[in-house]
Symmetry: C2
Subunit: 342 residues, 2 copies
């Protein structure tokens, strides 16, 4: 089984290739296909001793950039590394794809060129964020694939998030929170109120409405919201963490004694920086498409790419796609039953 890696229009394409080379070295069961400019790939690979029997290259000189209109580019740029990677992904012996390219293009490619899982209205992007509790992470679904949502989309997001956290993170009975403007059952906007009622009816561990203040508390395994809200939540986490660290740095530089004190705290600072750099620990899975896709950050370094490749393996070994299909069947069964009883 192979994993296809699209170099795409990312910030550091060398790092993507390096990540592939290191993955091949690290695990002898890894087989990769790299999609991108063959000359460039070979040049970077020449620095590494890799087993070429476990590596294929798809030569694709075209790239889909962040300036392209994703839906159009996916149809027209058929020679691009992403389109060629997705076409490779359709093959039975390819288990999944990693791309560090344009998020919009990966979404469009996954949804329109690869295809949705039957019964899923809208695939969603589900980054995995750190929490206050060491070793515990939380899945935020959706974080931007769907900015206008109907209630059924969020119900499916919840079920996909549960499948992911069970399969990949080994959480037995994931705690699902619905992002809301208060914890009370009656809080929420029109969308979230309808979703609340429908999640209550499902055989999942739905703990109710939650406030964004607790997003990273470790109390939740899955946070459900529409992609507009999720995007705001995700970016606010990033912006605030960066701001606090920057303020701290400025305050330290202003005082000689603080500067002296900081010398003894490098490890403590590094630990936080490392924790908040969640993008280095893997990518955001695009859940709800027919095969496994992990979107790595555009600024990924080699270790982030390695982490994303490992993530694909875990998703595949855990049989995630089938688990999502089972989850969708559960939703259909519960809602059909409710309709029959009402």
């Amino acid at each position: 089984m192979k994993i296809v890696v699209d170099i795409g229009a990312c910030d550091n394409p060398e790092e993507v290739v390096r990540g592939c080379a290191l993955s091949l070295q690290e695990d002898s069961s890894t087989n990769l296909i790299i999609s991108g400019d063959e000359n460039f790939i070979n040049k970077v690979l020449s620095e590494y001793n890799v087993d070429r029997n476990r590596l294929e290259i798809i030569d694709a000189k075209e790239v889909i950039s962040n300036e392209d209109v994703p839906t159009v580019a996916i149809r027209r740029k058929t020679e691009s590394s992403l389109v060629k990677a997705i076409d490779a992904l359709k093959s039975d012996d390819v288990m999944g794809m990693v791309s560090a390219g344009s998020t919009g293009a990966v979404l469009s490619g996954g949804i329109f060129r690869l295809g949705r899982i039957k019964g899923i209205h809208r695939p969603a992007l589900a980054p995995i964020l750190p929490t206050l509790i060491d070793g515990k992470e939380v899945c935020l679904i959706d974080c931007g694939a769907n900015v206008d949502c109907r209630p059924e989309y969020l119900v499916e997001f919840a079920m996909m998030g549960v499948s992911y956290m069970k399969t990949v993170h080994g959480v037995q009975n994931p705690r699902v929170g619905l992002v809301c403007n208060g914890v009370e059952d009656k809080k929420g906007n029109e969308l979230s109120k309808e979703v609340f009622a429908r999640l209550k009816a499902l055989p999942i561990n739905f703990v109710g409405n939650m406030e964004a203040r607790e997003a990273l508390s470790g109390d939740y395994d899955v946070l459900v919201c529409d992609g507009f809200v999720g995007n705001v939540l995700l970016k606010t986490v990033e912006g605030t963490a960066k701001m606090v660290m920057k303020l701290l740095k400025t305050s330290i530089m202003e005082s000689a004694s603080a500067k002296f004190g900081a010398l003894f705290m490098k490890k403590a600072f590094d630990k936080i920086k490392n924790k908040m750099d969640y993008q280095k620990k893997g990518g955001a899975p695009l859940l709800g498409v027919e095969k496994i896709i992990v979107k790595s950050h555009g600024a990924s370094n080699a270790s982030a790419i390695m982490a994303s490749i490992n993530q694909v393996k875990k998703m595949y070994e855990g049989n995630l796609i089938q688990n999502i299909k089972d989850g969708i069947a559960t939703i259909a069964a519960v809602e059909e039953n409710n309709d029959a009883n009402s």
Copy 2:
């Protein structure tokens, strides 16, 4: 001119009274009315030497709690400190109100018992947040008063935020950002796209879509969004700042050298804590109602109450209500003109 202070159902009612006493001592031009249990108020005031000629007490033994349904409580609990404070606020010689009580009740009271400014569809709650730049703050409007919004509401929020930042913070030409899932003009959900087009047409400094990552960068003076999104943004800021500080504390406690280093950094830590404790610097104005209302945090201490009282004065002296009325007239004129031309 007087300011009425509602003790309400807050965490530390003594602190609210103390804040009033200190305000009276600090500024001899301050005249206050305190609404709440008279015996309790007098007991707390007995600790202070205050000029009773500048202080009235409205005896109100009933409180509206966070458990009450706001719209119902505002109609039925006519003996409550909040309802009595709002009734006092209607008088011509009262310039504004401060309340540390239930947010929902303050909103309902302001909107239904006091009344909206003509032309405003929905009043909004607009907390003032710190930014990376010292002395620069940003107004987030709405942060929870309106969870389901139509485009015209957000257009009015923008105009009210501009009036506030001009009047109270002396910002000449406030930079307005529309909270979005990307900075590109075409990004957004159905609501924000419609708002984008309408803000473009107004004679305000609308700088376009912004990402929540930059909310506290200091690049914006007013952030516009619906109350559901604003609430998520605000609470994510709070939660993330708290998380980073907690992680830092944990890391420090784990290491003897970091503990030693931290001794030299108390000031630097305090500076950040102080910056992020924005609620101690005043309350969130409820904009769009007929008179000035500032909602203080439920856990306000005396200095937060003093800050809120000062905020009311600034809003009054800056003629905020009239400025908002002028802003609404501008929107009406621009949109009428556009309709005529289309």
